[in-house]
């Protein structure tokens, strides 16, 4: 398994936090209220249903 770069991490958590703030269902049982904190918790538990595609010119690699 390749790990995410810090930019990918920021993009995933940011996108997920925005989704949650806009009313997307939360995937973790939590007492937190701040969408960003919920997104971080989901990320730590590996629950976020988002994949990253890295582009190398024509080549495309999915980071899993």
């Amino acid at each position: 398994m390749i790990s995410y770069t810090r930019y990918e991490r920021a993009r995933i958590i940011g996108a997920r936090a925005l989704q949650i703030s806009m009313g997307a269902p939360v995937l973790v049982r939590t007492g937190r209220i701040d969408p960003l904190e919920i997104a971080l918790e989901e990320f730590e538990k590996g629950l976020i249903p988002i994949t990253v595609k890295r582009h190398f010119g024509e080549r495309e690699v999915v980071v899993a």
Partner: protein, 193 residues
Amino acid sequence: MYYKLKLADKVRVPANRLGEDLRVVLLDVLQEQLEGSIDKEIGIFIVVTDIDEIGEGEIIPGDGAVYYDVTFEALALRIALQEIIEGIVVETTGFGAFVSLGPIDAMLHVSQISDDYINHDEKNSRLVCQQTNRTIGVGDVVRARIVSLSLNEREPRESKIGLTMRQAGLGTAQWLEDDHNKEIGQRSVDARS
């Protein structure tokens, strides 16, 4: 003419509907967006019937929604100039009759109904040809040709469609039947003589 279409588009699924069945949400969004709308190339959308394929979702920076590539089936009415259509008269006025083509109404001007002079019989909501006494009223089925077409994509209700019936083979169902009977009668007279 009515067309059954297979279309591909990017569809925005808002974040608050992400937990639901994707197929249902996509159908809802497409129906909300397209039904009743007009596209000059495609025509007037009547219904989005089914979702065929759902591609990968994409998250765009700055928007919490997910954009899916979707192919779907839809039914549309595409009206062409010179097309012969059948419709039902829904309203008569002093300047002509409005004919419903289904999702949209078209205008049949008095000058385009017949070579006759035409009076408007307001009480019975019908138009009367002065010489031949033929009538055209609300509820009549008419066959006409499209002669002008101005579709407004922004305001579908502002679209204007013009019709004519001043050609052979065009008119209300009653007129056509009368003409047909007359022709048959004429033919039998000819055969006898």
